[in-house]
């Protein structure tokens, strides 16, 4: 929970220069961290927690009770939602107080933020559940999952301004949902004038939701097909 805040403190202070008219890197970075918050609390948390529960026998034990399988996943979704709300709240508070982030001013922007958070965390949750089959052990899960998250964050314009990354990196990142989540977060928190500085010259809101939505669907199919209650 605290690590994103620490990163925010470091990066936000070190790179506080202006990157465009009326926009500092700190503001850019907070938007990126909020989007990252969805990946951390959803994908990363579940892809590490579920293998641990699998290794400890928790899942097997639950499988032998009358508990319906759906209850387990609903429980996880609630966990992700709550931790995401807390993390976004903390990041936003720090951003507003220390880094000059402006809260959205129009109802439309608030709606956009809500939609982004709901769709983004749902997507992150199902991908985390699906990916939970990849780590071979509970203990090793962190070593498998964390690098994936960190590399993705670097590629997707969390730590660097996206448009300054090499083109090939931008193309690769555009396949995955995080780049779109960070872009969507920027469309909420940065002034609309900044949109011209983005890759396509505008916020690409429609495409953002389409890609996140597509990953949500992929994630659901992948999770249902591959979920295992026990290690083989």
């Amino acid at each position: 929970m605290l690590f994103p805040l620490i990163l925010l403190a470091i990066f936000g202070s070190v790179f506080s220069n202006s990157i465009a008219k009326g926009v500092t890197f700190s503001q850019y970075f907070v938007a990126g961290m909020i989007a990252s918050g969805m990946v951390n609390t959803g994908f990363q948390q579940l892809a590490i927690m579920i293998p641990m529960e699998r290794e400890f026998g928790t899942l097997k034990r639950l499988r032998g009770t009358p508990m319906p399988a759906s209850s387990y996943f609903i429980g996880k979704a609630i966990l992700v939602t709550l931790s995401m709300i807390v993390q976004v709240f903390l990041l936003l508070e720090a951003g507003v107080i220390f880094f000059g982030v402006n809260l959205p001013t129009t109802a439309q922007k608030w709606l956009l933020l809500a939609a982004l958070l709901i769709l983004g965390s749902a997507c992150s949750t199902v991908l985390g559940i699906a990916f939970s089959n990849v780590p071979k052990s509970g203990r090793g899960a962190s070593a498998v999952v964390s690098p994936v998250v960190i590399v993705l964050q670097f590629f997707s314009g969390v730590f660097f301004v996206f448009t300054q990354l090499p083109h090939w990196m931008q193309y690769v990142a555009a396949i995955f949902p995080l780049k779109w989540m960070t872009q969507g977060a920027r469309s909420v928190f940065l002034p609309d004038s900044f949109a011209t500085r983005e890759v396509a010259g505008n916020w690409e809101t429609g495409r953002t939701f389409a890609i996140i939505g597509a990953w949500l669907v992929i994630g659901i199919f992948w999770a249902i097909r591959s979920f295992k209650w026990e290690r083989d």
């Binding site: 290794e55 928790t58 009358p66």
Partner: protein, 284 residues
């Protein structure tokens, strides 16, 4: 109700390895049934198929009139009636014993009272201890508590006393007998012969994926009528003779020695002898 468990022609392979190769079994209501066999015999695979954790390749299986391989929500009602005691789990380390047991109670229609279950398994003093602070034996008692909290008609125990010291074993056997006395049917896998002998109403010896014999512990392998072993010291060494008539042999020895026979020992085949012979025989 018909048999609690009824299995016929069960088969399961993992790739080229046949773990269960045509197994038939029937378990009656209210009995303690032990499945005895060496590692790799197919005990665990069979039990996991009965518990619904594993799919089978072939054969009919009915557990409480239900096919455990049935997918979907019909399984929920069935799982409400069974209790599975797992081993070697490390879950619920951060919850207290009471928290774990009362939490699991919420999964069931008609659970037992958590405090009563904790007392039944002998963990009352550890009610407020965290799961990860429990010793191995206490941990296993917690596993039993979690397996029986739902008030099951049928309880599965997979090698429950592995690693227990003798005193803990005996106390545990008492617990199992109590559960049976309360009306549950119990299927137990073990490779401890004294455990099978102490607890089981019937024993099935399994090896290489097949049942070799099913019988009561004292009749297994013709034990009741097996030859007795008589041994005594004859000069420098100990002599042993098998005899169907040990009393006559002892009498003649007593006359031979003019009274007390040195280091006399008369015993019937132990379950272990019978078992090893059965397993060894089928390895050919």
């Amino acid at each position: 109700m018909s048999k609690v468990i009824s299995v016929s022609g069960l088969r399961k392979s993992y790739g080229p390895n046949s773990a269960v190769a045509g197994l038939d079994l029937e378990i009656e209501q209210g009995e303690i049934f032990a499945l005895l066999g060496p590692n790799g015999a197919g005990k665990t695979t069979t039990v996991e198929i009965l518990e619904g954790f594993r799919d089978r390749d072939a054969g009919q299986v009915r557990v409480l009139d239900f096919d455990p391989a049935t997918k979907g929500s019909a399984g929920q009602r069935w799982r409400d009636r069974i209790g599975i005691v797992l081993q070697s789990t490390q879950d619920a380390g951060d919850l207290t014993v009471y928290e774990s047991v009362s939490h699991f109670a919420t999964y069931y229609e008609n659970p037992k009272n958590p405090r009563e279950v904790i007392e039944l398994v002998g963990l009352t003093e550890k009610s407020d201890a965290l799961g990860r602070t429990l010793s191995g034996g206490q941990r296993r008692r917690l596993d039993v508590a979690l397996g029986i909290i739902g008030n099951p008609e049928l309880i599965f125990l997979d090698e429950p006393t592995t690693g227990f010291d003798p005193e803990a074993r005996r106390a545990f056997w008492q617990l199992i007998r109590k559960l049976r006395d309360e009306g549950a049917t119990i299927l137990l896998t073990t490779h401890y012969l004294d455990e099978a002998e102490a607890l089981a109403d019937r024993v099935a010896v399994i090896n290489r994926g097949q049942i070799i014999e099913i019988s009561t512990p004292d009749q297994l392998g013709g034990r009741a009528t097996s030859l007795a072993s008589v041994s005594w010291r004859d000069g420098v060494k100990i002599r042993t003779e098998k005899s169907a008539n040990p009393t006559a042999l002892v009498n003649s020895l007593s006359q031979q020695f003019g009274g007390e026979i040195p280091e006399l020992n008369v015993r019937r085949a132990s379950l272990e002898d019978i078992y090893l012979e059965m397993i060894g025989g089928s390895l050919e």
